[in-house]
C-alpha cells in the first residue's frame, strides 16, 4: 500500500485493511458492520493485481497477496474529487441549518478530498423538506446521497425492510411504503449511520451543534444487555445518546429505547428534592418538599423503631453496581433484614441464575453453534441481543431452537419453534431434554423429537438463552425448565431477564438468601472479609417479593423500601401489590419520579440521581461489568443511590461506611468481599473501556458458579423438579384439557414500548406503546361469538382489562395473549401470584 508492505487478513476488504494499517480511505456507503455494496464510489483507489493500476472501489475488493494499492496517486485523488462533485450535484448545501453540520462525513470529506468549488449551475432536485418516516425519524431527501446505509441496515441488520429505494436513476429516493411508517425498534441507528443530514431524529433536531457537545463513554441502562453508548451533553443537559461499537456487546447498534430513553431524565417531572407526607390519604396526602436531613432521619427513625424482619426492600435493578452493594449492605449488613428482592415476581430464582454456567453473547453467536431460546421474545425484551442473534443465524450458520410462549421476532429464522401452552412449559422442556440426551423415548417424528435432534447434532456447548416465559405462569416454571436444561451436556446459559442492571443486583446480593459474591447467606459463617465490612448479618432467611407483599398486606412489614421499583405496574399480581403497598406501615420510595406505587402509598420519597448523573458500573446479563459515567448533574438536590444508602448506614450504625466515599472505594470493598468481583479492578476497567470486564465464572473459560443441583429454595416456595409430586408444573396435567368451553389460558409478555414510568416521560416514545390487544389463535375464533377487531373485556377470576380482539397464528390454540403493560390495561390485573395458569374469558363490551 502506497509503497509499504501491509499485512491483511484473508478475505478482508481493502478499505478495512488500509484503515487498520493507518490509512483512511474516504467512504460514505461502506460500514464495517454491514455488507459492502460499492454504492457511493468514494473509496476509489488505484489497485494493481498484476495487470497494471486501475481504479477500483476499495470497499468491494478483497485483499490478495502481492496486491499493489495506491491510495494517494493523482488518479485516485482525481477520482475521489470527481465522485464528490457528482454527489454534491443534488446536495442542497444547506449546512448552516443542517443538524449534521460539523460532524458530517460529506462536509468533512468534501473539505479533505473535494473540489471546493462547484461547476453545477443548474437547478437541483427538490423534495418537500423533511418528511416524517416514523414517529421519531425525519427524512430530508434533498440531502440524501443514496449510500444505501439506512436501507441496508433496515434490511440486513434489523430485518425490518420498511424503507427502500424507490424509483430509478435521477429519480431514486429513499422512502417508505404508503401509510407504512419506518416503525422499527431500531430506526435510530439509521440516523446515527447516515453520512449526511438526511436522517434526523426528533429528540436531537435543532438542539445543539456537535462542537458544543461533550461526550463520555457509558452503558445503556434501559435493559439488561448493557449496550455501550456515548452520552453527549451540552450545558449540563444530555442531548443525545449514540451507540458505541463494542465488539462483545452491541456492535454499535442500539434499540430506540436505549437511544432515546434519556429523554425521561430531562423531564420536568423529575424529582429534585426529597418529599414527605404525613398520610397517604385523607386531608394531608399532599407531598411536601423536605430537606435531606429530615427525610433521611424519617427513614432512619422508622428503621430504628422496628425489628429487622419487619423491613423489606424491593427493586434495585435501576441502580449501579456500587449503589446496589451499598443498599445490600444497608439492608442486610446494617439493618439485618434478608427481605430483599430485586426481582418483582417476574424473574427467575436468583440462586439458579447465579449458579448456572454462564455464556457470553459471543458464545451464543459463535459461528456454527446452536442456541436454545427458552423465554420471551428477545426482539421485545432484549432488542440488541435480538440483533446479535439475528446476525448469527442469518450470517454465521447459528441454529436456533426456540421454546417460547408465542411467535417471536426470530421465529421465522428458527429451525424449530415449540410453543407450549401455559402450564406445560416445564413438561415440554423435560421431554425435549430427555429426547436430546437420549434418556427418553425417541424415534417418533414429533416436533419435539425434531428439535431434540438439532440439539443432539449440536453436541456439547449448546447456549441456552433463558428467561421467564409468560408472566402469567409462576417463576418456578422457568426454574424447573432451567434444571432440566442443565442436563444438556456442557450447556451454558445466557440469562434473558430484561430489567436493567438486574445481574448486578443479584451479584451484589439483592435477593433473599444471598450476599455479595454469589454466596448463600447461611454459608457465610465466619467469612472473614464480609464480617470485617458488615456489622451484622440477617438472622434468618428472608422473603421474596411475593412473600414480602403478602406479609405487608397482612400488616407484618413496617418499612417497605421501593428501590426504583413500581410494584403496581411491575409485580405480577396487581391486587396483591396494591394490598401490600397499603398494608405496609411506612413506604419509602427511592426513585427518579413519583411512580404509581409511590403515589399510592409512599410516605417518604427520596430523589435519586439517574444514569448519566452519577458514576458507577453496570453488570449485564453476561456478567460483563462496564463503566457508567456521570455526564451531567442531577436535578436539584437529588443524590446518587449509593450516597443515600451510605447516609442511612451511618445514621443507623456510625462508622459502618468509613472510607466508602466514592464508587471506586465501594468497588474496592466489593472486590474484596466477593471473589466473583475480584477481576473488577480499576486497572482492568481502565484498560477495557469499551468491552468492559467479565466477572469471574463467566464465559466459555469460566467455571460453573455456585449453584447446587439440590437447589436452595427461598422461603415461601418449594423446590420444583421432575421428582416432585404431580403438583409441580412439571408433573401437571395438560391445563388445556381442563379448560372451560369459552376459556383461554392467559399469556402475557412484555413489549419494548409499554406504559412504564420512564417511557411515559419520553416525549418521542410516549405514543408508541401498542394499544391493548387480546390475541387468539385463528382456530379459536369459532369458540367465541365475538367478531375480531371489536372491543372486548378480558376477564379472569381476579380482574379484568379492556382490549381489542385480534387473531394471531403465533399464539398457541387455546391461549390468549395480552401485552404486559399496555396503556390503561395492565395485564397483572388478571393474575394472582403463584397460580399455575390463569384462565380468562372474553366478553364483548
Amino acid at each position: 500500500m502506497d509503497g509499504a508492505a501491509v499485512e491483511a487478513r484473508p478475505g478482508e476488504m481493502l478499505i478495512a485493511a488500509c484503515e487498520r494499517s493507518g490509512t483512511y480511505i474516504p467512504r460514505f456507503c461502506y460500514h464495517s458492520r454491514m455488507s459492502p455494496v460499492g454504492m457511493c464510489r468514494m473509496c476509489l483507489v488505484e489497485v494493481d493485481t498484476g495487470r497494471g493500476f486501475g481504479l477500483q472501489p476499495s470497499c468491494m475488493v478483497p485483499v490478495s497477496e502481492g496486491m499493489k494499492v495506491s491510495t494517494d496517486s493523482e488518479a485516485s485523488k482525481k477520482a475521489q474529487d470527481g465522485v464528490l462533485e457528482f454527489l454534491l450535484i443534488n446536495h442542497p448545501l444547506d449546512c448552516p441549518v443542517c443538524d449534521k453540520g460539523g460532524e458530517c462525513p460529506l462536509q468533512d470529506q468534501t473539505m479533505a478530498y473535494g473540489p471546493g468549488e462547484t461547476r453545477f449551475v443548474e437547478e437541483k432536485r427538490h423534495f418537500p423538506k423533511p418528511i416524517a418516516i416514523s414517529e421519531t425519524v425525519f427524512l430530508d431527501r434533498e440531502r440524501c446521497i443514496l449510500c444505501d446505509r439506512c436501507t441496508r441496515f433496515a434490511d440486513e441488520v434489523a430485518g425490518d425492510a420498511l424503507i427502500h429505494f424507490m424509483g430509478r436513476g435521477n429519480h431514486t429516493e429513499v422512502n417508505t411504503f404508503t401509510d407504512e411508517p419506518f416503525a422499527s425498534y431500531f430506526s435510530g441507528n439509521t440516523v446515527q449511520i447516515c453520512p449526511v443530514g438526511a436522517l434526523t431524529a426528533a429528540p436531537y433536531r435543532f438542539k445543539a451543534r456537535p462542537w458544543d457537545l461533550t461526550e463520555t463513554l457509558s452503558t445503556a441502562w434501559v435493559d439488561s444487555l448493557g449496550s455501550r453508548v456515548a452520552v453527549q451533553a451540552s450545558r449540563n443537559r444530555v442531548l443525545r445518546v449514540l451507540g458505541a461499537d463494542a465488539d462483545a456487546v452491541n456492535w454499535g447498534w442500539l434499540s430506540d429505547k436505549e437511544r432515546f430513553g434519556f429523554e425521561a431524565l430531562n423531564s420536568a417531572e423529575r424529582l429534585s428534592a426529597p418529599m414527605l407526607r404525613d398520610a397517604v390519604d385523607g386531608d394531608n396526602r399532599e407531598f411536601r418538599q423536605a430537606g435531606w436531613g429530615e427525610a433521611l432521619e424519617a427513614v432512619a427513625g422508622a428503621l430504628r423503631a422496628t425489628s429487622p424482619e419487619r423491613v423489606a426492600v424491593l427493586g434495585g435493578a435501576r441502580l449501579t453496581n456500587e449503589a446496589q452493594y451499598m443498599w445490600a449492605k444497608l439492608a442486610k449488613g446494617v439493618v439485618g433484614t434478608d427481605n430483599v428482592d430485586a426481582q418483582l415476581g417476574d424473574g427467575l430464582d436468583p440462586h439458579l441464575v447465579l449458579g448456572l454456567p454462564r455464556a457470553t453473547i459471543e458464545d451464543a453467536c459463535r459461528p456454527g453453534g446452536t442456541v436454545l431460546l427458552v423465554g420471551p421474545d428477545p426482539k421485545e425484551e432484549l432488542p440488541t441481543l435480538y440483533l446479535r442473534l439475528r446476525h448469527a443465524i442469518v450470517n454465521d450458520g447459528v441454529k436456533l431452537v426456540e421454546v417460547t410462549p408465542h411467535a417471536t421476532g426470530l421465529s421465522h429464522l428458527a429451525e424449530h419453534s415449540l410453543r407450549p401452552s401455559p402450564g406445560t412449559t416445564a413438561r415440554l422442556v423435560a421431554e425435549l431434554v430427555d429426547a436430546a440426551t437420549g434418556s427418553g423415548p425417541s424415534g417418533d417424528d414429533s416436533e419435539i423429537e425434531a428439535a431434540a435432534r438439532s440439539l443432539r447434532e449440536a453436541g456439547e456447548g449448546v447456549v441456552v438463552v433463558l428467561g421467564r416465559m409468560s408472566l402469567a405462569e409462576p417463576a418456578d416454571v422457568g426454574d424447573a425448565a432451567a434444571r432440566e436444561l442443565s442436563r444438556l451436556p456442557s450447556a451454558r446459559f445466557l440469562p434473558a431477564l430484561r430489567r436493567g442492571n438486574l445481574m448486578g443486583a443479584l451479584e451484589a446480593g439483592l435477593a433473599p438468601g444471598l450476599v455479595p459474591g454469589r454466596m448463600q447467606l447461611e454459608d457465610v459463617g465466619d467469612g472473614a472479609s464480609l464480617a470485617e465490612s458488615w456489622p451484622r448479618l440477617p438472622d434468618s432467611l428472608g422473603l421474596d417479593a411475593t412473600s414480602v407483599l403478602r406479609a405487608a398486606a397482612r400488616g407484618d412489614i413496617d418499612v417497605l423500601v421501593l428501590l426504583g421499583s413500581d410494584p403496581l405496574n411491575d409485580f405480577v399480581d396487581r391486587d396483591l401489590a396494591y394490598r401490600g403497598l397499603r398494608g405496609a406501615a411506612c413506604v419509602v420510595a427511592v426513585d427518579l419520579f413519583v411512580n404509581d406505587s409511590a403515589s399510592l402509598a409512599a410516605g417518604v420519597v427520596l430523589a435519586a440521581a439517574g444514569p448519566t448523573e452519577c458514576d458507577g458500573t453496570f453488570t449485564n446479563v453476561e456478567g460483563r461489568v462496564s463503566i457508567m459515567s456521570r455526564k451531567v448533574t442531577p436535578p436539584g438536590t437529588a443524590r446518587a443511590d449509593w450516597m443515600i444508602a451510605a447516609d442511612l448506614c451511618e445514621r443507623l450504625e456510625p462508622g459502618s461506611t468509613s472510607g466508602l466515599d466514592s464508587p471506586q472505594a465501594i468497588r474496592a470493598e466489593l472486590a474484596q468481599i466477593s471473589q466473583a468481583h475480584a477481576p473488577i479492578t480499576e486497572d482492568a476497567l481502565t484498560q477495557n473501556p469499551m468491552e468492559g470486564v467479565l466477572l469471574a465464572g463467566t464465559g466459555a473459560t469460566g467455571e460453573a458458579g455456585g449453584w447446587r443441583r439440590s437447589g436452595r429454595p427461598t422461603m415461601g416456595r418449594s423446590p420444583v423438579g421432575r421428582t416432585e409430586p404431580a403438583t409441580g408444573p412439571a408433573g401437571r396435567e395438560d391445563p388445556l384439557e381442563e379448560l372451560p368451553e369459552d376459556g383461554f389460558l392467559l399469556i402475557t409478555t412484555r413489549t419494548m414500548y409499554d406504559d412504564g414510568m420512564m417511557l411515559r416521560h419520553c416525549p418521542s416514545s410516549r405514543g408508541l406503546a401498542p394499544a391493548a390487544t387480546a390475541r387468539i389463535n385463528p382456530a379459536d375464533t369459532d369458540r367465541i361469538d365475538i367478531d375480531v377487531s371489536t372491543a372486548v373485556r378480558v376477564v379472569s377470576d381476579f380482574g379484568h382489562i379492556e382490549a381489542t380482539l385480534a387473531t394471531d397464528s403465533g399464539v398457541p390454540a387455546g391461549s390468549l395473549r395480552v401485552d404486559w403493560l399496555a396503556p390503561g390495561a395492565p395485564a397483572n390485573a388478571l393474575i394472582a401470584a403463584a397460580t399455575d395458569v390463569t384462565v380468562v374469558s372474553v366478553e364483548a363490551r
Binding site: A161, H164, M166, G167, R168, N175
Partner: protein, 204 residues
C-alpha cells in the same frame, strides 16, 4: 383492490415455478398490473405477503421499472419519442399536437380515461422517426394527421391494441395463421405457416 380469486390461484401457481417465492415478485406484479391497469397499494401489499417481502421492498423493486405504473393510466398509453432522430423529424411537434388534440398535459390522461400521453426516451426505432408507441406497440413515421386518424380509429373501435401490461400482450389473441407454436425440432422440417406465407409474399 387486492388480487381476485382467479389471480390468487394463478399467483400460487406462478410462485411454484420458482425455487424461492421472492423470485416470483416481478411476475406477480405483472399479474397485479394486468388486473387493475396499475399497481394498487393493496395489490402490492398482497404480493409482498405472497412472496415474503415488505410492501416497501415490493414498491421499491417495482419502482425500478418504468412500465410498472402506480397511478391509473388510460386504456391506451401513448409514448411519443422526442429523442434526436424523432426530434429532427418532428417528434416534438407530434407530442405537442397529441397533447393539444387530446387536451392533456404531458403525462396526463383524457377525461374519458381513453388516452395517456407521455414523452418517451429513444424507443430504438430511429429509422421510422418520428415514432410513437401505443401500449408499447410501434407506429412509425407518424404525422399529426396520422395521429388523429389513429385516435379516431381507436375511439371508434376500428383498431384495437392489447393493453399496456406485459400479461395483456402475452395473452392477446394471435390469428392462427400467425401462430408460431411450439414444435419439437425433429418435426420442424417445414417453416412455420407465417414464415412460409412471408416467403411466398416476398417471392411473389
Amino acid at each position: 383492490m387486492t388480487l381476485s380469486p382467479a389471480n390468487e390461484a394463478l399467483a400460487a401457481e406462478i410462485i411454484g415455478w420458482f425455487p424461492r417465492p421472492r423470485s416470483a415478485l416481478i411476475p406477480l406484479l405483472h399479474l397485479a398490473q394486468a388486473q387493475d391497469g396499475y399497481l394498487t397499494d393493496e395489490a402490492m401489499r398482497r404480493v409482498g405477503e405472497l412472496v415474503g417481502a415488505t410492501p416497501a421492498e415490493v414498491k421499491g423493486t417495482a419502482g425500478f421499472y418504468e412500465m410498472f405504473r402506480f397511478e391509473p393510466v388510460g386504456t391506451y398509453l401513448v409514448n411519443v419519442c422526442t429523442n434526436i432522430s424523432c426530434l429532427l423529424w418532428g417528434g416534438e411537434e407530434l407530442l405537442e399536437h397529441a397533447c393539444e388534440s387530446l387536451d392533456v398535459e404531458v403525462g396526463g390522461t383524457t377525461d374519458d380515461g381513453m388516452f395517456t400521453v407521455e414523452e418517451a426516451e429513444c424507443v430504438a426505432a430511429c429509422t421510422e422517426a418520428p415514432c410513437l408507441q401505443v401500449n408499447y406497440r410501434y407506429r412509425g413515421r407518424v404525422s399529426p394527421a396520422d395521429f388523429d386518424r389513429l385516435i379516431e380509429d381507436l375511439r371508434a373501435g376500428r383498431t384495437s391494441i392489447a393493453g399496456h401490461g406485459v400479461l395483456a400482450q402475452v395473452r392477446q389473441s394471435i390469428p392462427a395463421d400467425r401462430l408460431a407454436g411450439v414444435v419439437p425440432p425433429e418435426q420442424a422440417r417445414e417453416a412455420p405457416v407465417w414464415l412460409a406465407r412471408n416467403e411466398a409474399g416476398a417471392s411473389g
